[in-house]
């Protein structure tokens, strides 16, 4: 494990954590159907995502379900990647899918805590679908600032090997 962590440090960035989540689309479809007024969407989507969601109102159900399922999976995966140092809430995370011009999907994380925003680097995300399932994989980098990164690693990862270096 320490070797992997060390090898991942590139320049001033290093790996903070990874996370994965899988979701069964029919479960999301059932929740959407059971609760009125887009309650589920309003619970898990950020303001920006809700705007996109409102544009989907005329779309078919599977498209709406997929939109929610992907965001659910991505946010759960980010949560796992940041845990236990940081515990993001639903609306602090915004997922942007593949852009029309072909740019990779991204996740933005805006924490109310400024220290957290300064510590967390790029969040990489990959999403896949197969019929009834969607899966999201996330890798989070952190800015490596001398003692700060060392401290995060020793508290954030398994204890006992405090000799990890950036």
């Amino acid at each position: 494990m320490p070797n992997i962590v060390r090898a991942s440090a590139i320049g001033h960035l290093m790996l903070f954590g990874i996370g994965v989540d899988i979701v069964h689309l029919p479960r999301i479809a059932a929740i959407v159907k059971r609760h009125a007024s887009h309650k589920f969407a309003r619970r898990i989507l950020s303001a920006k995502e809700l705007e996109q969601w409102s544009c989907l109102q005329g779309a078919d159900d599977p498209k709406q379900v997929r939109f929610l399922a992907v965001r659910w999976a991505v946010k759960e995966a980010v949560y796992k990647a940041l845990y236990p140092t940081i515990k993001p809430t639903w609306k602090e995370l915004t997922f942007l899918g593949l852009s029309p011009s072909g740019e990779k999907p991204t996740v933005s994380f805006v924490s109310p805590t400024q220290d957290v925003n300064q510590k967390i680097g790029p969040i990489h995300v990959s999403v896949s679908h197969d019929s009834d399932y969607a899966v999201a994989y996330v890798a989070v980098e952190q800015f490596c600032e001398d003692d700060l990164s060392l401290e995060t690693q020793t508290t954030g990862l398994e204890r006992g090997s405090a000799n990890r270096l950036c």
Partner: protein, 121 residues
């Protein structure tokens, strides 16, 4: 789908805990914002909501039951439980509190807290 999120949440919610009144001290009639809602009624309604979830192991349904460990619910179920509770009691549990709820006891405390704190609506 994930048990992780549920299983790793912090258990302490002092905001709710401090507002709770032990039921044996509750007077004959309460004229609070809860409009006469009694603890037992609230608990029965919460249990009914949970019974509506197919996968809930009904024999494990108790005040102290944990969503993940006792009732077999995962994080997606937990979000739906909170939404169902909000609908049942016509309340809105703030996101930060809703995210932390992972036991039946925490649901009851959240309802109690909101009932007694009109500005929390």
């Amino acid at each position: 789908m994930s048990f992780f999120r549920l299983a790793t949440r912090s258990l302490s919610r002092s905001t709710f805990a401090s507002s709770r009144i032990p039921s044996r001290y509750v007077p004959r009639a309460r004229y609070s914002a809860s409009a006469g809602l009694q603890q037992n009624d609230i608990q029965a309604r919460v249990f009914d909501v949970l019974k509506g979830f197919e996968k809930v192991n009904q024999s494990k349904l108790a005040r102290s039951a944990s969503f993940a460990n006792d009732l077999g619910l995962d994080s997606l179920d937990a979000v739906e439980v909170v939404m169902a509770i909000e609908e049942e009691f016509s309340i809105e549990i703030p996101d930060a509190e809703a995210d932390e709820i992972q036991t039946v006891q925490q649901v009851l405390l959240a309802i109690d807290y909101i009932a007694k704190t009109p500005e929390a609506h």
